[in-house]
């Protein structure tokens, strides 16, 4: 039996880790300690974690090793260390959603995905930084601190799940969970050069996900490989009596189709995803990726047109703020979290609570949502946005009548410098290519697609049909196997 050194372990995948644990090549305690040491060595620079739960993780690792040595480690992720976006409720572990409003919240229950990962045997190393209440595209809107991009510490990791993406790229966890309302998994995955999957809306329970925009929010994995994304999705997917928007459909085996290749697969590349706003380096990188797909059996069709897709961004910036203004009404300073006291009335205390508890971006979106929903504007903004949402869904349906997947860039640029984008609408433009999948409720994945300006990663996005993650993962896996891009920066973050 060979044993693994710590540096071998940092680059492993969930699938490899499973094999090494079952063969006795490593132990969960060694694995967990290796990643905790890595966090200690690198997180001063990366700042991916809001909370590290070292003690609990090592305790769980001891239990996992007992199961492994007695041959009872049937749970598929037994002993494998992962991380959780700080928007997921974790029983007994501080959960902040990146907001001063929840500075001291210790949840009395677990999110469904958290209890499912525990049932699957995974070990949580802690909670990962994010834009406040998942509103943002750079993780600069965290109330605590910005997270850095492991490929270039002066750049942002993307957002809102920036901590979850950076932790995988910096090899602080084997995999992590994030949430995606308009691109918050895929855009940071693109910026940090890792795999990020947003499942079909309703595939994964949202119970215990602190709500931002309930008709758009979906939880999904960050990993080094598509195979790992399939494994992690397998562990968290499926109906949940605690979420009435979760599909009551049988969950397929997400790994079964992975190796079927590209032969004859019909890939649409609609014009609207390759137009205005995309940087040249991203465009040429994506073109090279399309050539590689075509050379290996995929049928690339550039003719589909989706004229309503450019409207997805305005639709999003009506619907998401509207839903957020309702969802965030619960933060009243009475039941949990921050509560100002000493005002002249209950209302004064509540207004002060929300003044000091929320950051700028969150307040801006609540105000925008209140405007779109207010008397006299409701039909023109909110209802019109819902109708255009229908048009966008129909256009996706039309394309999927004749194609298996859609391919597009994930983000229009590579990761930008911290502090570079100050105009809110410029920041929103980061999500022009990711928002359409949320609007239509479709599964979508970002996989590393090469490198652009400054040697920064460029993500390639695939969008699949509703509930057809198996085909989506098949195409993404085939591309990954052909391209073989690295998913962590050369020369480790901690050693530079």
């Amino acid at each position: 039996m060979t044993t693994s050194t710590d540096s071998d372990l940092l680059s492993i995948t969930l699938a490899q880790g499973r094999r090494k644990l079952l063969s006795g090549e490593t132990s969960s305690q060694q694995l967990t300690q290796t990643f905790l040491d890595r966090i200690a060595a690198t997180d001063d620079q990366v700042k991916a974690f809001v909370t590290v739960t070292a003690e609990a993780a090592l305790e769980q690792a001891t239990q996992a090793d007992n199961l492994l040595s007695s041959g009872d480690a049937t749970a598929p992720l037994t002993g494998l260390p992962i991380g959780l976006k700080d928007v997921l409720m974790t029983r007994g572990v501080r959960t902040t959603a990146g907001s001063r409003m929840l500075d001291s919240l210790i949840p009395p229950y677990d999110a469904t995905v958290v209890s499912r990962l525990r049932d699957a045997g995974a070990i949580s190393l802690g909670k990962l930084n994010m834009d406040e209440f998942a509103m943002g595209s750079s993780t600069e809107h965290s109330a605590w601190f910005p997270t850095a991009n492991p490929w270039d510490l002066e750049r942002v990791p993307g957002g809102s799940s920036g901590g979850s993406a950076a932790a995988v790229a910096a090899q602080q966890c084997i995999a992590t969970l994030g949430s995606d309302t308009g691109g918050s998994i895929r855009q940071p995955a693109s910026f940090c050069g890792v795999v990020g999957l947003k499942p079909t809306y309703g595939r994964v329970s949202r119970y215990g996900l602190i709500a931002f925009a309930s008709s758009l929010d979906q939880i999904g994995p960050f990993t080094h490989t598509v195979e790992d994304a399939a494994l992690l999705l397998q562990a968290i997917a499926g109906p949940d009596p605690l979420d009435s928007t979760c599909y009551d459909e049988p969950v397929p085996d997400f790994s079964e189709q992975l190796d079927r290749g590209l032969d004859g697969l019909r890939v649409a590349a609609p014009q609207e995803f390759f137009g205005d706003g995309m940087d040249e380096d991203v465009g040429s990188t994506v073109e090279t990726a399309l050539d590689l797909l075509a050379a290996n059996g995929a049928i690339i069709d550039r003719t589909p047109s989706m004229p309503s897709v450019p409207m997805a961004l305005p639709v999003y910036y009506i619907l998401a703020p509207s839903e957020c203004s309702a969802n965030l009404a619960r933060f009243d300073g009475v039941k949990y979290g921050y509560g100002a006291r000493g005002g002249e009335s209950m209302w004064a205390d509540m207004e002060a609570t929300r003044q000091h508890g929320f950051g700028r971006e969150v307040k801006r979106r609540i105000l925008l949502g209140a405007y779109a929903l207010s008397a006299g504007y409701y039909d023109a903004y909110y209802l019109q946005a819902q109708k255009v949402r229908t048009l966008i869904r129909r256009e996706f349906d039309r394309v999927f009548a004749e194609h298996d997947v859609i391919v597009a860039p994930t983000a229009p640029t590579v990761a930008f410098k911290q502090g570079e984008i100050t105009d809110p609408y410029q920041m929103y433009l980061n999500d022009i290519f990711t928002i359409p999948a949320n609007i239509a409720g479709l599964p979508a994945i970002s996989v590393p697609g090469g490198f652009g300006e400054g040697g920064m990663p460029v993500g390639l996005q695939f969008v699949g049909q509703r509930l057809d993650e198996p085909t989506l993962l098949q195409v993404a896996n085939a591309y990954e196997q052909l391209a073989q891009w690295p998913t962590a920066p050369p020369g480790s973050v901690g050693s530079t």
């Binding site: 919240l105 009395p108 079909t200 809306y201 309703g202 008709s215 979906q218 009435s244 928007t245 979760c246 599909y247 009551d248 309503s308 409207m311 305005p314 910036y317 009506i318 300073g333 009475v334 039941k335 949990y336 979290g337 509560g339 005002g343 009335s345 209950m346 209302w347 004064a348 205390d349 509540m350 207004e351 002060a352 929300r354 003044q355 929320f358 700028r360 307040k363 801006r364 609540i366 105000l367 925008l368 209140a370 405007y371 207010s374 023109a380 903004y381 209802l383 019109q384 946005a385 819902q386 109708k387 255009v388 949402r389 229908t390 869904r393 105009d423 809110p424 609408y425 929103y428 409720g441």
Partner: protein
Amino acid sequence: MSDAESTQFSSEQVRHLASLVRIELTDSEVEEFRSELASILSHIDALSEIDTTGVPPTNNGADLLNIKDDDASRPAMPRDQILANAPQREDEYFRVHAVLDQS
């Protein structure tokens, strides 16, 4: 819908919106949000040009309606754990400012 160029906010409008959502704003915040909201809406106003005659609204990310739960009792979360997160509690209650006029 008003056309893009005319999307303007007065300070009073911003203060009114803030009062609807119970957020106190400083004077400088009012000014910043006034111009930022106008700018964001000028981009969003393109929506009004889309013909949606006869198009039904989509209000749900999936196509799901009314999933029903069994009408069975089950244990609730322990009261102490819930109250433990209250900014201010008194015995088994959330403590807040007096709501009703005490005079």
